[in-house]
């Protein structure tokens, strides 16, 4: 059985404030479709675009030791971006990317963050999660299911070495094209980041 944890999320709480403004928003969720997240977002009257970013990463770059080496293969990168990031400009009012960005090598990460900036409308929010413990080698990857606006159920998927470890300074640099970056440090070595486009 898949192990899961339930945790409070202040980042999600703030992300959800924007959802209450008006119905009919377009929200991007990279955690893979789950009944609870679908119900939560669509109950607001919003449209949800769902994809499993981790599945796309595994599908394009493999699950073996060459996972990061493959991310420098232009053909594979092109295939990945076409499969996972092919959206029209300013087509979303919010993005839940969860922990997916920490498994991208620096060059691909820049590319993906640049695309996220382009596909989000001005004023919209992006919620991401980064592991905050620099000492560990492998970290768990999770699928995130929204239970309510302050609670996320995290189902364990696998263990993976992060491509790089981020601190507040490197995250500010990563999201420098966005208008603001807000950090939420938690007790479980996760750093929630709420970015405003």
């Amino acid at each position: 059985m898949q192990a899961s944890e339930t945790r409070n999320s202040n980042g999600l709480d703030q992300f959800c404030s924007a959802l209450e403004a008006r119905p009919g928003l377009s929200i991007l969720d990279f955690s893979g479709a789950s009944q609870s997240t679908i119900s939560f977002i669509t109950d607001y009257g919003h449209r949800l675009y769902s994809d499993d970013f981790g599945h796309q990463l595994d599908h394009c770059f493999g699950t073996t030791g060459e996972f990061y080496e493959n991310q420098s293969n232009p053909l594979l990168v092109s295939r990945f971006l076409g499969a996972a990031m092919d959206f029209e400009e300013q087509s979303f009012d919010g993005a839940l990317v969860w922990d997916s960005l920490q498994f991208l090598t620096p060059m691909l990460l820049q590319n993906v963050v640049g695309r996220l900036h382009r596909i989000l409308r001005p004023g919209s929010s992006l919620l991401a999660v980064f592991h905050a413990d620099e000492r560990v080698e492998d970290i768990p990857t999770w699928s995130y299911r929204i239970q309510d606006r302050k609670t996320v159920v995290m189902a364990h998927r696998t263990q993976r070495r992060p491509a790089q470890v981020f601190n507040n300074r490197s995250l500010e640099k990563l999201f420098q094209d966005f208008s603001s970056v807000k950090f939420f440090l938690t007790r479980d070595h996760l750093r929630e980041v709420l970015v405003r486009r």
Binding site: Q2, S26, G32, A33, S34, Q35, I38, T42, G45, R47, L48, Y49, S50, D51, D52, H55, A155
Partner: protein, 170 residues
């Protein structure tokens, strides 16, 4: 050299069980438009469009459907690539794959299913019930405009008559 004329092969529609849904078996490949007036299970391959406005489409465990789908209800157990519009609900079962945009009144998705696309929930206003219409005699036929390739498994059908203009490849 053979002078035998090429004979068109008529698809065999048989009821899987009396009164049960029409079934396109796992060795059946259909290309084109499928319009059905009864529940339909596709356990083979279908490429094109599928319309079952008042009925349920089930994509079986072996089913590979690449089609725009309109139905009252859709159950995906196998693989479906295409936009789906359902008046009632869509169920995506564990192990199923659905890539495409969904417009539906309700959605049920099991853990272990893969979905990629937009989800739009249709919220219908309650309407005044229309006066009842006389029911047509017999079931509404399945109509297909297809280029189809059938293997040995054939297809089966639960009672409705059918109009089928296929070209078969073997």
């Amino acid at each position: 050299m053979s002078t035998q004329p090429t004979r068109a092969i008529e698809p065999v529609f048989e009821s899987a069980r009396p009164g049960g849904p029409a079934v396109l078996g796992k060795s059946v490949v259909v290309k084109g438009q499928i319009i059905a007036g009864e529940d339909l299970t596709i356990d083979g391959e279908a490429d094109g469009t599928v319309e079952l406005q008042e009925h349920r489409l089930t994509v079986g465990p072996n089913g590979k459907v690449m089609a725009a789908v309109k139905a009252r209800e859709v159950v995906v157990i196998g693989t479906l690539h295409g936009n789906v519009e359902t008046r009632d609900k869509i169920q995506i079962r564990k192990g199923a794959t659905l890539v495409g945009d969904i417009r539906t009144a309700r959605i049920e998705i099991e853990d272990g299913a893969y979905f990629k696309g937009n989800i739009d929930i249709i919220r219908t206003e309650p309407k005044i019930a229309p006066s009842p219409q006389p029911k047509p005699q017999g079931s509404v036929p399945i109509v297909t405009q297809t280029t189809a390739a059938a293997g040995s498994g054939g297809s089966s059908h639960g009672g409705g008559s059918s109009e089928f203009k296929p070209e078969f490849k073997r």
